[in-house]
């Protein structure tokens, strides 16, 4: 093959990669953009794009619906509580798993991470049966339990990753400088795995806010999350309030990320590499 032909090949391949990237991006972003556009559509029916006029009517309708406000309040409460419990239990579990070296360690780890693989319908149904058997029939408690089960793996996984990425000699350095193992954990290990904890918390919060499949099983007539309420009502009457709700949820996620960026810093959120010598 001549030099020019080789170059041409490279250039074609590079072009193909950029084209592929563009396609994937379009595939991911276009539905979101369409949703945003529709949420502000002034028409009372689903018409062709673009909308002839914009309005806030769907948002007004959204906040006027009782089931939406109730659902949103429940969702937020559940998400906040779930995330707090996850960070606590998940970090403790990850630290224990990281330290121990017993024979069944990988089995225990698999159990901790299994909710990522087991179908949500199975988890939801199993939890419903189990919780009613042990006498928990309150919808809020059931939802909280279910959400902790499905979100805990995210925290365990990200904290485990940051634990295995940290430099163990830092703990040894603390010990040799006179710190007890307990002190070394609080002073050295915990600050270094903070980024893993935050990342896990963000995932847990987002998954909790978004879940439908498990929540469907665990709601009761007066306690339901926003996604469950939206799905139920979409079947009854389809209009663009659901687009408005989607935009609202996106906004919550965006605000969450911006707040985190301010508090934790993006470099810490993503770049644990900084913390290796």
């Amino acid at each position: 093959m001549t030099g020019t032909a080789k170059r041409l090949g490279d250039r074609l391949l590079g072009g193909a990669m950029i084209a592929m990237l563009g396609l994937v991006l379009a595939f991911l972003v276009t539905p979101l953009l369409v949703t945003c556009l529709l949420a502000f559509d002034a028409r009372s029916f689903l018409g062709p794009l673009p909308p002839p006029a914009l309005s806030m009517r769907w948002f007004e309708k959204l906040v006027s619906l009782d089931y939406v406000t109730t659902g949103l309040a429940t969702s937020l409460k559940i998400a906040v509580l779930t995330t707090s419990v996850d960070v606590f239990i998940g970090t403790a579990a990850a630290v224990a798993l990281d330290r121990s070296n017993f024979p069944g360690r990988s089995l225990v780890m698999a159990v901790f991470l299994s909710p990522l693989i087991v179908p949500a319908v199975v988890i939801g149904f199993a939890l419903l049966l189990f919780l009613s058997r042990i006498g928990i029939v309150d919808g809020f408690t059931r939802l909280l339990c279910g959400h902790i089960v499905i979100t805990l793996p995210y925290v365990v996984r990200t904290v485990l990753a940051s634990l295995s990425g940290r430099d163990r000699r830092l703990t040894e350095a603390a010990l040799v400088l006179g710190a007890t193992e307990h002190q070394a954990f609080w002073n050295i290990t915990l600050p270094l795995i903070r980024s893993g904890m935050v990342t896990g918390a963000v995932f847990a919060f987002a998954v909790s806010l978004d879940d439908v499949a498990v929540s469907m099983f665990l709601t009761d007539p007066s306690t339901y999350t926003l996604p469950v309420a939206l799905v139920s009502n979409m079947r009854a009457s389809f209009d663009l309030t659901i687009a408005a709700a989607a935009v609202l949820l996106m906004a919550v996620s965006a605000v969450l990320i911006i707040v985190l960026e301010r508090f934790v810093g993006f470099d810490r959120l993503l770049g644990q590499g900084l913390f290796r010598s």
């Binding site: 000699r169 350095a173 400088l177 006179g178």
Partner: protein, 365 residues
């Protein structure tokens, strides 16, 4: 005064591997010892046993006369300089240095002064509020040293202290490290695989091989009178000549090498001998130089190649009998030595170290 460190028959096994094999030694207070050996010889395990990260399977360890075998790291006062510094990345330089002081119960009001004094000791005044990642490798190393010395440990361990730095910086820091260690006047153990580092920092060198200490001595002794082929090779470049003793005189032996070189060397109880000659002890001159006639050993050969290393050069000479001899000499400009040139090499009797052949490790068979 009791010894600063005392190992009594210490062993440490990891599965099937014996990392430390029945090792005993003692280090006097104020002494600087270099623990030298190839990677995997067990030197790091010894360091970790002294620091308290590993517990020996057998034997006892004392520091300053106190049996510390069963004590946790924080129950001993040992300073440790890590190979890659292990500075706490989320703390400032000052917080790093203060960490040991805070956890060793120093008076809180005195900590800032002590931190300043340590920064001054390693010439980093004004760097207290920086973070480790804002410093160069050499500066990080000095912060690590200040942190290790801040609590005035009776014993400081240095794990490959200079190996993470580039060659030029290493030489500067080696001198500085030596000054600082002398200034704080504490006992020190340098663990290293680099014989230059060991010889320049240690007052005594402990040479390790396969979990055991095979030779102990002043750097010049271990270099100049290696006890085994391993010791000779590990301490520096060397020429080996295999020979057979043909005649003995008082303290001397006449020997004939495989390729027919006739040599006069220090006597050795064995008839089959290995002769070690350091390349810098060999004098090389033009083919018929009369100076060489005074040498106990001289032979003719031809230059194979010349490798220029800056201030020195290595010249590989092929002898008439086929042996290849490496000569190291100061690099002189313009003397025109080059491949193919006929030369004479010579070396005195005391440049030769003889040892019985066939004992490459020097370990008891």
């Amino acid at each position: 005064m009791s010894n600063a460190v005392e190992f009594h028959r210490v062993s440490r096994r990891f599965g099937a591997v014996t990392a430390v094999d029945d090792v005993s030694f003692s280090i006097a207070a104020g002494e600087t010892v270099a623990l030298l050996g190839p990677s995997g010889c067990g030197k790091t395990s010894i360091l970790r046993v002294i620091a308290g990260f590993e517990r020996p399977d057998h034997g006892t360890v004392s520091i300053g006369g106190r049996d510390v075998t069963a004590l946790k790291p924080y129950e001993r006062n040992v300073g440790l300089l890590f190979q890659h510094y292990a500075l706490f990345p989320h703390m400032t330089v000052a917080e790093n240095i203060a960490y040991g002081l805070r956890h060793r119960g120093a008076d809180r009001r005195e900590i800032p002064d002590r931190v300043e004094a340590m920064l001054a000791l390693v010439r980093l005044q004004g760097f207290g509020s920086r973070r480790p990642h804002q410093l160069s490798g050499g500066q990080q190393q000095r912060v690590a040293l200040a942190r290790a010395l801040a609590t005035r440990p009776g014993l400081i361990l240095l794990d490959e202290p200079l190996s993470a730095l580039d060659a030029k910086l290493r030489q500067d820091l080696r001198a500085e490290l030596k000054q600082v260690l002398a200034a704080v006047n504490s006992t020190a153990m340098v663990v290293t695989h680099d014989q230059e580092e060991a010889m320049s920092l240690g007052e005594r060198v402990f040479l390790m091989q396969a979990g055991r200490i095979v030779q102990v001595g002043a750097p010049s002794d271990v270099y100049g009178r290696p006890g085994s082929r391993f010791a000779a090779d590990f301490m520096g470049r060397t020429n080996w000549i295999e020979a057979q003793v043909t005649r003995r005189e008082t303290g001397l032996a006449r020997a004939l090498s495989r390729s027919g070189l006739s040599l006069t060397v220090p006597d050795c109880p064995s008839d089959a001998i290995d002769i070690c000659v350091r390349p810098e002890n060999i004098i090389l001159s033009a083919a018929d130089d009369a100076d060489q006639h005074g040498m106990a050993n001289s032979a003719k050969g031809r230059i194979l190649n010349v490798a220029l290393l800056g201030s020195t050069r290595q010249i590989l000479v092929e002898m008439a009998g086929g042996e290849q001899i490496l000569v190291m000499q100061a690099n002189r400009v313009g003397d025109g030595l080059g491949p193919g040139q006929a030369v004479t090499i010579g070396f005195p009797v005391d440049a030769c170290i003889t040892m019985p052949a066939g004992n490459p490790t020097g370990l008891a068979a």
